[in-house]
């Protein structure tokens, strides 16, 4: 063969010509199949609500809602408009239809039931608490939105108990006492969480431990909503015990990771030493 590059080029051209000629009507079907979801990964489409609520026809306070929501913990967990407000997720014409369960903006007194649709345990404790009873009788007591906001809802943390929010109705003194009662357990939960995140970054699969931590944290936060300092103090021991068990498991896993690293590092050194020895040995034959 005299000009192999040319021959290769010719073969390519022939195949291309064949390809294009047979391809005519095939392209649409192919693109639909080939470019379907697993290939071109799409994140979940947004609710039909977002389209109108971000457009300029909306009043500015409604227009701001989607971007507030996008900063929230709900957004990170795929909880969107219709999950709380009802309405159709996909069909914009039915997105505010009462037939699809749309409830609109809840009135001040309806807020606890609105959020309690999902957060059942917390609603139960809230209604029994001083906060819940104040809200039921005077219609002016604190509801969920008072402390947590409505659309930019962040992950619950101990600093929601602060002077600005709590002094709206009473002195900060009693809030401070509650915060102190929660403090130790909250810190321990944070430490355990940090430990689990570290383990996950090391490639370990820790679903059971994560679930156990979430369960403990959720029970602790649900307990808090009864707004009873004595109850929190009495339960702290039990929570500490559970968290101590988790901490023990995490520590054991840390030790295991260290052992694994040491073992494979030892093997690495043995083989490196073996390599050097072989190299020197081979040099004794180079004469």
């Amino acid at each position: 063969m005299r000009y192999p590059i040319f021959l290769a080029g010719l073969i390519i051209l022939i195949i291309l010509a064949l390809a294009f000629s047979t391809m005519a009507g095939f392209r649409e079907v192919f693109e639909k199949e080939f470019l379907s979801k697993p290939w071109e990964v799409q994140l979940s489409e947004e609710s039909a609500c977002i389209g109108c609520h971000t457009s300029d026809i909306m009043r500015s306070e409604f227009q701001e809602i989607p971007q507030e929501w996008r900063k929230s913990w709900h957004y990170q967990n795929n909880v969107s408009c219709h999950d709380c407000h009802g309405g159709d997720r996909e069909d914009a014409t039915m997105s505010m239809s009462h037939q699809r369960g749309f409830v609109g903006t809840p009135k001040y007194t309806e807020v606890p039931d609105f959020c309690g649709k999902c957060h059942i345990g917390i609603l139960k404790n809230y209604l029994k608490s001083g906060h819940g009873m104040a809200a039921a009788t005077s219609k002016k007591g604190p509801n969920c939105v008072t402390c947590h906001g409505s659309h930019n809802i962040q992950k619950a943390n101990i600093d929601i108990i602060n002077e600005r929010l709590c002094t709206q109705c009473h002195s900060y003194e009693r809030a401070k006492i509650m915060k102190q009662a929660l403090f130790v357990t909250e810190n321990q939960i944070k430490d355990v969480d940090k430990g689990l995140v570290y383990l996950q970054s090391k490639g370990l699969y820790i679903e059971n431990e994560k679930k156990e931590l979430f369960r403990t944290q959720a029970e602790f936060h649900t307990l808090f909503h009864a707004i009873d300092v004595q109850l929190v103090q009495d339960s702290t021991d039990e929570f500490t015990k559970r968290l101590n068990i988790l901490e023990g498991e995490i520590k054991d896993t840390f030790d295991e990771i260290d052992f694994r690293q040491n073992f494979s590092a030892f093997l690495m050194l043995v083989f490196a030493g073996l390599g050097i020895t072989i190299f020197l040995y081979s040099k004794t034959y180079m004469d």
Binding site: M1, I15, A19, F26, P38, Q200, G203, M268, S282, Y285
Partner: protein, 364 residues
């Protein structure tokens, strides 16, 4: 006593004489460099994979409900299961790197030319078999990465007009990845590919030893210039026996390879295990940044770039065929690549493009 045993075996098998001929009398050119050992390292890597694979087989369960959990058990419950699995993962990627380096160094040294074309062809087929091993292997943990990367890979044959769908369905065992796919890929990985690999490697090693190692093209003592019209083993003027010189060189490189393996296991254990590979497969949830394994990133990125998918796949197939049959296209006798600037620049360009596509595929 030992001498009597050795003599007894020698009389009955002629083993000593065979070893002497193969090891001591087999000559190796004096200026071989370490790149000459890459082949044996690839073979050792395969043997490590086979051994660790057999051990993993004891505890792995090839069923979609149990696969992920059985791997977690191997990692956390079975004593030293983590070591076996980590070796299997790290060596699989290192093996592909070694084979690619082997390919590149052979190309640059022109060692594929007559009479070694069949060796190159067998080696090319071995590369494809190894890539099939890798593809079928990483579905087995049944993680998010396994499931979705395999979905992409099995969608690629649909590019072909008539038989595409049939091929894709045959691979997957249906319209989408399921437990049937898992058992198919498991059978491919464990039972179908190993004999194929051993057949090809037997052929490859036979050819290498039968023809003899090539002298480096850059050295002063180039091989005979006489035309290859009849079989003759290569004769080296400036050489030393295979044993112990070359064997020690090989042993050194093998221990270096093992040291690198254990370095990666100790200090970079999550290099080949992204988070998606540590989450159980969820057919209803596509992770945001799913990517195939690094050795498939270049073809993946190329397909994403070329607007016409059929053209993309055909182009890749053509490139593979050209690679396999290259010794038959390039028949010039000149083995020193520095004297062939066009070939060298085209080769370096293609290599650079492959690296760029891989990195691009990784970061996009």
């Amino acid at each position: 006593m030992w001498e009597k045993i050795k003599k007894g075996i020698e009389v009955r098998t002629g083993l000593g004489e065979l070893i002497k001929k193969k090891q001591h009398e087999y000559q190796v050119p004096k200026d071989t460099n370490i790149f000459y050992t890459l082949g044996i390292i690839a073979l050792v890597a395969y043997m490590i994979q086979a051994v660790t694979g057999y051990f993993l087989l004891i505890y792995y369960i090839p069923h979609s409900d149990h696969a992920f959990r059985s791997i977690q058990d191997i990692m956390n419950t079975v004593p030293f299961g983590w070591l076996i699995r980590m070796v299997h993962i790290v060596v699989s990627s290192l093996m592909v790197i070694i084979i690619l380096l082997h390919l590149i160094s052979l190309f640059i040294m022109g060692s594929y030319k007559k009479p070694r074309e069949l060796t190159w062809l067998a080696g090319g087929c071995l590369l494809l078999v190894v890539l099939m091993f890798c593809l079928s292997g990483y579905l087995l943990p049944w993680s998010q990465r396994s499931y979705w990367a395999t979905t992409i890979a099995t969608n690629m044959p649909t590019a072909f007009p008539v038989i595409g769908d049939f091929i894709a369905k045959g691979l997957r065992g249906g319209d989408y990845i399921s437990g049937i796919t898992l058992t198919r890929f498991f059978a491919i990985h464990v039972a179908f590919l190993p004999p194929l690999f051993l057949l090809l490697i037997g052929l490859h090693v036979f050819l290498v030893t039968r023809i003899g190692l090539s002298t480096p093209a850059f050295s002063k003592s180039a091989e005979d210039e006489k035309p290859w019209t009849e079989y003759r083993p290569v004769s080296h003027t400036n050489s030393y026996p295979f044993y112990p010189h070359f064997v020690l060189k090989e042993a050194f490189m093998i221990t270096a390879f093992l040291a690198v393996t254990f370095f990666l296991i100790s200090f970079m254990p999550t290099l080949f295990i992204p988070e998606a590979a540590n989450t159980p497969a969820d057919p209803f949830k596509t992770p945001a940044h799913i990517k195939p394994e690094w050795y498939f990133l270049a073809p993946y990125q190329m397909l994403k770039l070329i607007p016409n998918k059929f053209f993309g796949i055909t182009l890749q197939l053509i490139l593979v065929v050209i690679l396999l049959l290259w010794p038959f296209f390039d028949t010039k006798k000149e083995r020193n690549i520095l004297k062939r600037p066009v070939l060298l620049s085209v080769f370096l360009l293609l290599l650079a493009m492959w690296i760029i596509l891989t990195v691009w595929g990784r970061i996009s």
